[in-house]
Amino acid sequence: MSDATAPPAAPLAVELLVRSHRLRLFELAPWLVAVAAYGLFPDYLSLGSQILIGVVFSLSLDLILGYAGIVTLGQAAFFGAGAYTAGLLAAHGWGEPLSGLVAAGIIAAILGFLSGAIILRTQGLTLLMLTLMISFMVQEAANKAGAVTGGADGLQGMEVWPVLGLFRFDLLGRTAYLYCLAVLFLVWLAARRIVHSPFGRSLTGIRENEARMHAIGSPVFRRRLTIYTIAAALAGVAGALLAETTQFVALEVLSFERSGAGLIMLIIGGVGRLYGPFIGVPLYMVAQDRFAQADPVYWDFWIGLLLILVVVFARGGLLGFVEQLWRKLRKTP
């Protein structure tokens, strides 16, 4: 693939990754940081697990938003579906965590497939509205089915068994952290594979110029539905991780706030670059942990301002900003 066919303004990271599937050195960085964090911050491992789960969720969003260009505000529906699946299994006697993850992914994928089949033929505001409607309907249904889901009180009585029968979920959060890290690694491998594949590239084509994709006979709807389903499954896995590591599920897992937060964290890091979530999620969540505790009103204000500034001046998020800098530096002799 020569430079002539690559779109002129393609993000640098994607260019690099697409040009060679071989792992680049900088791709090891997030994993080294994550492992180092385990050793350096033993008291902050529960926050660390939340961050890892957030990265999985934002990764799922990046696949449909960054690569397929589907704007959705309802991704939490799949996150919550996964969480409740794992939660209900654990509350009714089957606390095995790994199979819980798989079950959650499957249920979320089914929900993604069914809802996607209905709504993915639309675009723009209509599609956005439909993703919202699905999300709200799922949340309402979970609230109504209080006898099953625990409703507003939350799902009680979850008992999650030790991972692989050996590693109990301890109060310090050590098992949870490593468990989430392992799952994130697998999810990342899968996402990377998808992005590099011909399928992944066709998604970028759909995002950049859908009319042309139709013209060359590419099955646009089917492709969008496929990635939507896959992303739903991954979001479901993230939800299951949350349920299993906290041994609790509340209705907030389905909320608009969760969808929105995942989106904001992705934007701050940079959309469509696969690594955006790895930057945006830790930044946002650590900042929130530090500052929102101090003054929540100011937090809302500054996050809003940051969002506007990012959109107006740094549309590619932090990674986009870094890329521009890198390009400028390479040009100067």
Partner: protein, 286 residues
Amino acid sequence: MSAAVSIAFHGLAYAMVLYLISVGLSVTMGLMGFVNLAHGVFAAAGGYVMTRLINGYGVPFPLAVAAAFLAVGAGSIVLERALYRRLYGADELSQVLMSVGLIFMSVASAKFLWGPLAQPMSPPGYLSGQLDLGFRTFPTYRSFLILAGAMLVTLLWLGLERTRFGARIRAAVDNRRMAQSIGINTSLLFTWTFALGSALAALGGALGAEILAIDPGYALEHLIYFLIVVAVGGLGSIKGPFFAALLLGIADTGFKYLLPEFGAFFIYALTLGLLLWRPRGLFGRA
């Protein structure tokens, strides 16, 4: 029978408020193609201006409402020039995010300036109490809301049908390039339309403060209903959102009255169905 009358009455009052607030959003979305989720901020601002003037300075009700209309309209021009303008051609995601950022900032500011509780709102004496029509009584203020709303809607429709300004808006919504090529200054038109839409939202927020309390989270709490009215009504349409607001207002009230436990779910399902049947909205054209 009495149930039907109650539902129709309260639904209509609610619909008026929803329409006044949402019509501006429909026009700006249709005209400028801008997904402005922060539209509710203007409605809340109108509510705050009015309640602060009444509660803090004893300004009479009609004056306070007029002040809300003008002040927010003027303020929105500043916002349009400074911020919205930059993202007119941008992709949908950027617009969504920018408007979400605006909502956050406004929620935080309102909480900081006026506290987390809802602003106290009592209609003036001559608009309080009940109206006795013989066969039953109706809350006076809501009756006023229906009448005032109907008058404003009529004015709006006449204005858009009969004035040059209205003609220009309709032309630009229909075909922007064509409108520009016949000499319409679309940039100026955008600003004035945005101002009108925001001022109307402020009016809706102020008049509707009795039903939809003015608190810092207003723009977020009611966002979904404004979006439903616009999406179902059809972007760019003036009349479409009216029927959508009627539908939504009466359905919402009806469900609350007859089937409160499942109301929300059915509203969302209804919206889902309508949008799948008519993705461009009932009267959509943009």
